[in-house]
Amino acid sequence: MALNSGEILDPRDLDRHRPQLLKYAMLQLRNHAQAEDAVQETMVAAIKGAQGFAGGSSVRTWLIGILKHKIIDSIRKSSREQSLDLDRHESSPDDMDVLFKPDGHYADMPADWGNPEEALSRQRFFEVLEECMESLPKATAQAFAMREVMGLDTGEICENLSISASNCWVLLYRARMRLRECLERNWIGAGGR
């Protein structure tokens, strides 16, 4: 159904987006209670600000826009309460060593992905991407989500996670290397494209 600006948003119409929003929040917060809270606050804000909904974008896009702010607030709050104890494994890039030979060449030659753009119109591709993001260690996944899903700059991410800039770059490096490997195995290699 199409909602045009000026129409009133029905709360039931918001509710059917709840599972998707919860998944989105869980991916980044990795904590069920925090994710539920962020989604709940999003719903409240959406109902209060329903007139702010401009018909041009979809309801889901609009809700995700609100949710992003709630997620960042939540991450900021929890890192302030207890600084993220980044374990040694996550703060060092040593686990990337297995991807390379001792001489610094790739252990497995990265595949030619051809033209992968077409994947962006497929729901199945995003499910694979989501599974790949879920498989990352927590801080690695959070840093990647803030950087590439939410588009924050690294300064904001370090601040939100209470970590140093160099830790932040290591997390993002790991995330990208693991995700390219995961997509290569589960999308490109699985004949997804």
């Binding site: 159904m1 199409a2 909602l3 987006h17 998707q20 998944k23 989105y24 974008s57 979809s58 309801v59 889901r60 896009t61 995700i64 890039p93 990337m96 991807l99 390379f100 001489d103 610094g104 060449h105 790739y106 030659m109 990265p110 595949a111 030619d112 992905w113 992968p116 753009e117 994947a119 962006l120 119109s121 497929r122 729901q123 591709f125 995003f126 991407l129 989501e130 990647f144 989500a145 950087r147 590439e148 899903v149 588009g151 690294t154 800039a165 932040c168 770059w169 993002l172 490096y173 990208r176 290397m177 995700l179 390219r180 997509l183 290569e184």
Partner: protein
């Protein structure tokens, strides 16, 4: 000094998050010029950037623009 693929891949990632020093940038560019593997990785990192920005993907049964 030449850099290897391990170093190059790390610079590729960091280059997406901060400005690399000019010397580093030149080394990376030279490595990419010679190395098919890292050129692929660069394209894949760029693709990942576009894909993540579009997560959670097309709007399915929602009221957004419908995909064929």
């Amino acid at each position: 000094m030449m850099i290897n693929c391990k170093e190059a891949s790390r610079l590729l990632s960091e280059g997406l998050d901060r400005d690399l020093a000019p010397g580093m940038r030149a080394k990376l560019r030279f490595h990419l010029f010679l190395c098919t593997a890292c050129s692929r990785v660069k394209q894949q990192f760029d693709f990942l950037h576009r894909a993540a920005a579009q997560y959670p993907g097309p709007d399915g049964d929602d009221d957004g623009p419908h995909k064929p």
